[in-house]
């Protein structure tokens, strides 16, 4: 089992996400995280899915997602073949603010993006391992809430969807 990033370029039609996730569901592969956004190409949507599975499974999944009419092209990458980031938000009660917290924020290159009467929100961008490490530390600061995005990723190999579309 390995961690893979599946990157799909699709038309932006109703139900496309449903169609894509059905392929994972059918093979019993859990989706660890998922993001969707526009891409560089006008009208081309991209979906990034992180999964932990075998290479044989991910190859089949990628091929089967490509059979979906509205999927333009699918790729899969190992972690060293993509540059990726995830964003994490941590909600901390005002009562926990002390010099120790400042040190942690500096150490993790995090920042406070919002301060309310009762809490502050800290943001950190990085890989899952890093945002998780910060989460562990912030548990000592009575963290109230935590949320992390799916990965956004760009591929290292130079073949692009643009080339595919013009082919």
């Amino acid at each position: 089992m390995n961690r893979y990033t599946v990157s799909l370029f699709t038309e932006n039609f109703i139900g496309i996400l449903n169609r894509v996730t059905l392929i994972f569901t059918r093979r019993g592969v859990n989706i660890d995280a998922l993001t969707a956004s526009e891409s560089k190409e006008d009208g081309v949507h991209r979906i990034t899915i992180e999964v932990t599975t075998t290479e044989d499974q991910v190859i089949q999944i990628v091929k089967q997602t490509e059979k979906i009419i509205d999927v333009i092209k699918s790729f899969y990458y190992k972690d060293d073949e993509v540059v990726y980031q995830e964003i994490a938000l941590y909600k901390i009660p005002i009562s926990s603010l002390d010099p120790g917290l400042e040190k942690v924020i500096r150490q993790y290159n995090a920042r406070i993006i919002s301060a309310e009467k009762e809490f502050v929100v800290i943001e950190m961008t990085g890989h899952k391992e890093d945002t998780k490490a910060l989460l562990e530390i912030l548990k000592d600061f009575n963290i109230l809430e935590f949320a992390r995005s799916g990965r956004v990723a760009v591929a290292k190999p130079m073949g692009t969807i643009e080339q595919y579309l013009n082919n």
Binding site: G15, I59, I69
Partner: protein
């Protein structure tokens, strides 16, 4: 100025006419009523067949599509009408049958409110269709239908579902039909790579014991002649899958038989002795391969396949040729050496003799008292024309009929292969017959399966389709009973049936009937049926506890094929 706009419902019908659809198999209901109303004025341009259940409608459309090679069209209302199509959609998907299913939907303001007969059929059918869409605006109807036909019939064909809300059917819009010629995100025919063809030719040319397996891809690709040319030049023995039957005449000197759990002895056994396995338009279904870990491990596999997701799915290919075999086969034929494989062929023939004495002769020329399914098929062969179509249901009779029916031409095999849908045959036979009224259509069905869709005798009666229904009655769900006998200590758990008087039922539908219980009457009854020019119902009471052999039990290897 006269308003040139027409109702969405009429646009539906005009779009189907524009696609040259000959038949709609359907069933009316509330949410599709505007379309049925529009249809009333188009009886001279498109025929509608009223089945007795929506499942019957879709199976009939499948039978029509499989025989004609065209897109089958079926129609149903929302809610239960739409959900009754689901089995047929799954069946058409797994057997690559081109269908356009049109369902009515509640008016768009009611969507999501649990309105009467509202069901999320787009959601239901999403994993089972090649493509589906809900249309809520009149101007989207014709483009959706155009796109649907293009997707259904191109590439690896499949079912498409178009769900149209009632308000879109009632609204007025301009009709301007533009056929769909391509979709940016969909490339149905990948270009065949010369380099792969060259590699494949090299592997084939150096083979000592090459072996061809052909499937329905040859039929769908209309590549029957191309397959024959390849075989004629290379002299390679060839075996077929269930759905590939008929792509090559069984009279061809290199035809060696059928693959799979109940296929022939030699083709299964020798899969594990060939050195190069050339798979053409087939997908290595588990019923063909048995245990994958012990399947053709000694062989280099060359896979000619249109669907990229099938390549390396079950069996890893040494050389894969992605593309339509209609295109790739001639390229390959050009590059391979002329050859013959007489000694290798003899190995097949030797094992064939073994199967003949151990199984075939007992099935076809039985000496015991009970009638066999095999001897019924033998007589059908005697009276059928070369292009007669065999439609079968699912179970023992399906395997026996397939094993013994003499396939001479393409598009003569209609059965539920991948899904194994009991109840498929009766409506599918009706659709098959309507696709070509000049061909004989023989529907071989068991006493279990016929009762799943027996109401379609009414549709056969109403259309006076000259379908020959051959009921092989053993008063058992025979295939399940066979498994219970072999693998569950003869614990016949809920497989014996108390059956009705089938002849009385058929007579109630005004069919000409005959019932055979004695061997002496069999030939004449089959003969009478085959020359009768209308619908005919023949019931043959066969031995209760006969088994189908050869057999590769689940989990076994192809080389463990059993003769008894």
């Amino acid at each position: 100025m006269k308003d040139s706009r027409i109702r969405g419902a009429e646009i539906v019908i005009k779009s189907l006419v524009a696609e040259n659809s000959e038949y709609i198999f359907g069933y009316p209901g509330g949410a599709i009523m505007p379309v049925y109303d529009a249809l009333y004025d188009y009886a001279d341009q498109i025929k509608h067949v009223l089945t007795r259940h929506e499942q019957g409608a879709i199976h009939a459309a499948q039978g029509y599509a499989r025989v004609s090679g065209k897109v089958g069209v079926c129609m149903a209302t929302s809610g239960p009408g739409a959900t009754n199509l689901i089995t047929g959609i799954a069946d058409a998907m797994i057997d690559s049958t081109p269908l356009v299913c049109i369902t009515g939907q509640v008016a768009s303001p009611l969507l999501g409110t649990d309105a009467f007969q509202e069901t999320d059929v787009v959601g239901f059918s999403m994993p089972g269709t090649k493509w589906n869409i809900q249309v809520r605006r009149v101007e989207d109807i014709a483009p959706a239908i155009a796109k649907g036909f293009h997707i259904a019939r191109s590439g690896r064909p499949g079912p498409v579902l178009i769900d149209i809300t009632k308000d879109a059917q009632n609204d007025l819009g301009e009709f301007n039909y533009v056929p769909c010629l391509g979709i940016r995100s969909y490339r149905p025919y990948p270009k065949v790579k010369e380099s792969q063809v060259a590699k494949a030719a090299e592997v084939i040319n150096s083979a000592k014991k090459p072996y061809v397996l052909y499937g329905q891809g040859v039929v769908i690709g209309k590549a029957e002649e191309e397959l024959k040319a390849f075989l004629d030049k290379t002299g390679i023995p060839a075996a077929c899958t269930l759905l590939g039957s008929g792509a090559l005449s069984e009279d061809h000197p290199q035809y060696v038989g059928k693959l799979g759990m109940h296929g022939n002895y030699a083709p299964n056994l020798l899969t594990n002795q060939c050195d190069v396995l050339i798979a053409i338009g087939m997908r290595f279904d588990d019923r063909v391969t048995g245990d994958l870990k012990r399947y053709a491990k000694q062989a280099k596999v060359v896979h000619l396949e249109l669907d990229n997701a099938e390549i390396d799915k079950n069996v890893k290919a040494e050389v894969a040729i992605l593309g339509n075999c209609k295109e790739s086969l001639p390229m390959l034929t050009q590059k391979v050496n002329e050859n013959s494989h007489e000694e290798w062929l003899k190995e097949f023939r030797k094992l064939e003799e073994k199967e003949k004495s151990a199984v075939v002769s007992l099935d076809l020329l039985p000496t015991k008292s009970g009638l066999t399914m095999g001897e019924v098929i033998r007589y059908i062969n005697d009276y059928k024309k070369d292009d007669a179509i065999l439609v079968t249901d699912v179970g023992q009779h399906q395997m026996i009929a397939w094993r013994y029916f003499k396939y001479k031409t393409s598009r003569t095999q209609v059965t539920s292969g991948g899904l194994g849908t009991m109840g498929f045959s009766l409506p599918a036979a009706l659709g098959a017959q309507l696709a070509d009224l000049n061909r004989q259509v023989v529907c071989v069905v068991g006493d279990g399966g016929i009762q799943m869709t027996i109401q379609e005798l009414g549709t056969i009666m109403q259309t006076q389709s000259p379908v020959k229904v051959v009921l092989l009655n053993n008063n058992f769900l025979g295939m399940v009973r066979q498994w219970q006998q072999l693998f569950f200590d003869k614990r016949y758990s809920f497989t014996e049936l108390d059956n009705p008087d089938f002849i009385k039922i058929a007579e109630a539908y005004n069919m000409k009937t005959s019932k055979v219980t004695e061997r002496d009457d069999l030939r004449d009854s089959v003969a009478e049926m085959m020359i009768h020019d209308g619908p005919y119902f023949l019931e043959v009471v066969v031995e209760k506890e006969d088994n189908v052999f050869p057999m590769i039990p689940t989990g076994c290897s192809v080389e463990e094929v059993r003769l008894s």
